[in-house]
Symmetry: C2
């Protein structure tokens, strides 16, 4: 039986509060893809509070096919003591059925435009090194791997170790 791929119009737009259920579903899909399915500990309610409450801890673009969300790019403003305000792309994800149609580039570009409009010189993010298709996708647009080029390593203090350190004398 032959299958036909139906091309559906996908809109990239700023996320609204009522997108949070859909975003939470995509966050879980991305974690599954990254082989860390138990990673996500927060859900739509926390996303609503943190993204759409009085203090905006993140911002987000979504890709919408008029029925479901099929991708998202979640970002926030970070700070460099060399260059001031910059943008950090926390997640960029497109659901498998909608890949290879330019949706990921459009989401990524929406975030890059925010950076340029705010006069930021940098857009930063992290990638799993084994994820060669993502690495190639980013490098094709001129992104550089600062871990490889300058030996930057990501460190984390977490959970009980963080508490023990913070509360030690």
């Amino acid at each position: 039986m032959a299958t036909t791929r139906v091309s559906v119009e996908v809109t990239v737009r700023e996320a609204r509060e009522d997108d949070c259920e859909g975003i939470a579903t995509l966050i879980q899909e991305l974690a599954d893809y990254e082989k860390m399915p138990t990673g996500p500990k927060i859900g739509a309610e926390t996303l609503r509070k943190d993204g759409f409450g009085p203090e905006k801890m993140f911002r987000c673009f979504v890709a919408d096919d008029n029925a479901n969300l099929v991708g998202y790019a979640l970002y926030f403003f970070n700070y460099s003591t060399w260059e001031g305000v910059n943008v950090y792309l926390e997640d960029l994800y497109v659901t498998p059925s909608h890949r290879q149609q330019g949706v990921g580039v459009r989401l990524w570009k929406a975030v890059a435009k925010v950076a340029v409009e705010r006069n930021c010189n940098r857009l930063d993010w992290v990638v799993l090194g084994w994820n060669k298709s993502s690495v190639e996708f980013y490098e094709a647009k001129g992104a550089v791997n600062l871990t490889q080029d300058e030996d930057w390593n990501l460190f984390r203090l977490t959970g009980d170790n963080l508490k023990a350190f913070a509360l030690s004398c």
Copy 2:
């Protein structure tokens, strides 16, 4: 001629707006130490605007010996789609004359306390891999190297490449 190290009381406290000149001096010292002396492009005026204006893009603790600032820890809140609000430590630096006296640990701990008080599960930062003394300092307190353990690589799109991508059709 014998030299005597005079032990001076060092206070760790939240940065004030009038600390920005001193912080900018230490930012340049850190860049020199990191072998990237031309890195810093912003000065005290930008730090005042971004840290002490209506929108706080960063927060900072300083170590003060009652004459000069001798160290600083600059941080901001970042966002994880797995765990919500967390803390990112952008810079931790102590001037050479005041090292080996616990000042760096006190600054770092002040930031860790902010994270715990805000119910954050993570404190993140990056370290140059060749900087073995820093790597050991952090690992001794239970920090993990996520680049080594999970293969996370830091990517960046910057300057003309960022603009070209954002404005491309």
